[in-house]
């Protein structure tokens, strides 16, 4: 497998083990997971992808396949898709509907509601409002439902790739 520097999944220099994910804003999580376990490494709460193939020899490429098939990853992916697919469908339909209505039914859009504020103005401001709402909902969903599991998986995957690489060297 061709492997230029940027795709090396593991920090290469010896002693780098204590910083598997260098996110300085890591401590901003509310849940308290990912605390250091005293050895300088974060304590993964559940090591789901690990153990399924210990003792087996694998190429780094196979590790990603294994992780992809693991229940933990499927769960993360499912959560992501279950939020994003409907959300994209809704906001895209709402936006295209708005643009098409503005073009095809200007009479309806010009109907006054209160003073000089008409349907078009409310619809336009509604687009702003829904954008802010969707942003908030997505950030909240990702923070509460995905971040933790994804980081566990990241850690496990990097561990696995590292051990495989270590064996090769």
């Amino acid at each position: 497998m061709e492997n230029h520097a940027g795709r090396d999944p593991a920090p290469v220099d010896a002693g780098a083990r204590q910083v598997p994910f260098d996110d300085p804003w890591y401590d901003a999580f509310a849940s308290g997971w990912g605390e250091l376990d005293g050895t300088g490494a974060p304590a993964p709460l559940a090591p789901p992808a690990r153990g399924e193939h210990e003792g087996r020899t694998a190429r780094p490429a196979d590790i990603y396949l294994e992780v992809q098939r693991s229940a933990a990853f499927q769960e993360v992916r499912g959560r992501y898709r279950r939020f994003v697919v409907p959300a994209v469908a809704i906001f895209f339909t709402w936006y295209v509907g708005y643009v098409v209505t503005a073009t095809t039914a200007p009479g309806f859009m010009a109907r006054p509601l209160a003073g000089s504020v008409n349907v078009a103005m409310i619809a336009g401001l509604g687009q702003f409002l829904t954008t802010f709402l969707f942003t908030w909902a997505y950030a909240r969903h990702a923070r509460l439902r995905r971040d933790r599991a994804a980081l566990d998986l990241r850690w496990d995957t990097q561990e696995l790739t590292r051990s495989v690489r270590g064996g090769e060297r």
Binding site: P9, Y95, V99, T103, A110, M121, G124, T131, A150
Partner: protein, 538 residues
């Protein structure tokens, strides 16, 4: 205020505006010097600023990159001239960020290193994919740069009286030269700080003007709208869609086409994508987008007030008289709400707004130049030259590329002087949405996507988009065209998005199903796992 070109202002406030602008240039040069002092000369440092910006810093920088002269000058101008139809730009520019937030930001941060091509090339045969994605990224960037250059030109025309073509040309050249200097010396770190400073200035200026406009109407938005409608001469039609894009069906399809391009284009803009690499993790990338959505949304709400405010206070005739495309509505508004051309308040406010607009242009230009020089050096140069090159030499190539791109953008900017800035940006968005977005989404989400599909997706969007623009009324066949004398207009719409975006997606699908190559399961698994978990991300 009648007549086409006149010096709006007595000499005093030109001097002040130039002084303020010089101050901004001095500050940004200081930043550049400071940033390059710490520079280690690695590609990581040059393209991604060391990847250690905080989400808030990056959020401001994204907002700074995105809120271009097109937004500040162009959208407000369009609203001032055409009322509600200008507002579509604001809505489209903002809603587009949901595409970025949901589908692109985190995944791209996890999978790539410096450019869009990194994400695609991870799954595919590297060389053809890099060449394709690099070419389209450079095309989009150059189009976007031209829009900024035109903005700079029309601003100077207003400031110096517009009669001096030479002054206008020299400004465009000066802006170009400065940006090349920033980018080639300071790299991403300097560029990011320039964006942040600029975003703060721009938000401050917009807030101040919005407050002044609202104060003038005693906080009564309804009254503001009514006055704008009356003054426009269109009555209530000014507040409803249809004034610019309402006529025949060509105009209506143009409107839909533009709307699609705006909402899908942002996620394919190279200079926006490259910003996600300046933070350490996908989570930080997401939080920067949340920051920038807040800033950008607030800003666009204000452009609506400013646009209608310019219509109500300055009046569409005066706006059109100063610049036919409406690009100077906001500076004129500043002059009026400050107390008029003869007053100190008007003079000072005008100078401040003009200087901020200049700063905006400079900063955006620097951001785009950096992104496109990364595409040239990291994607095109690295692929077209087979010899393995060290990162150090790649950075040197990027510096040279910045100069080359600057020259091209200056030349085109001088040519396209009379087009509306927001409209030009609409074109850049259409090309980005057609050429960059399909390949990006397919690579991230489609299991069976192949190298041929990737290459076809890029060219299948890029070529139609560019060809349709060339054949459109923008370039020839009407009095407002780039070449009014010639007539090779065969495509009726000004914005190609409606046709070229579906073509990009279609070409990617077609290339994939017709290719003999079996998609690499393991590489797809790697992309999927990495994109969602961040495993192995740099």
């Amino acid at each position: 205020m009648t007549g086409n070109h006149q010096t709006l202002v007595p000499g005093g406030h030109q001097t002040l505006a130039l002084l303020l602008f010089s101050a901004f240039v001095a500050v940004t040069l200081a930043i550049t010097t400071w940033a390059s002092r710490k520079r280690r000369g690695s590609a990581e440092e040059f393209y991604a600023g060391g990847r250690l910006f905080s989400p808030m810093e990056n959020g401001f920088a994204i907002a700074g990159d995105y809120m271009s002269a097109a937004s500040f000058l162009g959208i407000s101008g369009l609203i001032a001239l055409f009322g509600y139809d200008g507002l579509l730009y604001s809505v489209g520019f903002l809603v587009a960020w949901l595409v970025v937030l949901f589908l692109v930001a985190e995944l791209v941060r996890n999978c790539g290193r410096f450019t869009l091509a990194d994400v695609v090339a991870a799954r595919m045969r590297e060389r053809p994919v890099r060449i394709a994605a690099g070419t389209s990224s450079v095309t989009v960037s150059v189009l976007y740069l031209v829009a900024q250059m035109v903005g700079a030109g029309s601003l100077v025309a207003l400031l110096l009286g517009g009669t001096s073509e030479a002054a206008q040309a020299w400004t465009v050249i000066g802006v170009g030269a400065l940006m090349v200097l920033y980018v080639s010396l300071g790299g991403m770190r300097a560029t990011t700080w320039i964006q942040i400073v600029k975003a703060v200035l721009l938000m401050g200026g917009a807030i101040a003007l919005t407050v002044l406009v609202l104060v003038r109407f005693q906080g009564d938005f309804d009254q503001l709208l009514r006055t704008a409608a009356e003054r426009s001469g269109h009555g209530d039609a000014f507040l409803a869609p249809g004034l610019k894009y309402g006529g025949d069906w060509t105009a209506r399809f143009d409107f839909i086409s533009l709307g699609l391009a705006l909402v899908l284009g942002t996620a394919g803009l190279p200079h926006i994508l490259s910003r996600f690499y300046t933070v350490p993790t996908a989570r930080a990338a997401r939080r920067s987008v949340v920051w920038s959505i807040g800033l950008i949304g607030g800003f666009y709400v204000m452009t609506i007030v400013l646009g209608f405010g310019a219509a109500a206070i300055v009046g569409p005739d005066a706006v059109r008289g100063s610049n036919a495309a409406g690009n100077t509505a906001v500076p004129l508004l500043a002059l009026e709400v400050g107390g008029g051309a003869a007053s100190t308040g008007g003079t000072v406010l005008f100078a401040i707004v003009a200087a901020i607009a200049f700063a905006t242009i400079l900063a955006v230009v620097a951001g785009i130049t950096l992104a496109s020089s990364a595409s040239v050096a990291h994607d095109l140069y690295a692929s077209l030259r087979r010899r393995r090159t060290k990162p150090r030499s790649e950075v040197s190539v990027a510096r040279v590329a910045a100069v080359g791109i600057g020259v091209v953008a200056i030349a085109l900017g001088l040519l396209a002087r009379d087009l509306n800035v927001a409209f030009l940006v609409g074109l850049a968005f259409a090309v980005a949405a057609s050429a960059n977005l399909p390949v990006l989404l397919y690579s991230l989400f489609w299991r069976s996507f192949t190298t041929r599909g990737a290459v076809w997706a890029v060219y299948g969007g890029l070529v139609p988009a560019v060809v349709l623009v060339v054949l459109s009324p923008v370039v020839s066949g009407s009095p407002e065209s780039l070449f009014p004398a010639a007539d090779f207009q065969y495509f009726p719409l000004q914005n190609p998005g409606l046709v070229s975006i579906p073509l990009g997606f279609l070409a990617g699908w077609l290339g994939t199903v017709t290719s003999a190559e079996t998609p690499d399961e393991a590489k797809h698994a790697e992309t999927e796992v990495r994109s969602l978990t961040g495993a192995g991300a740099v």
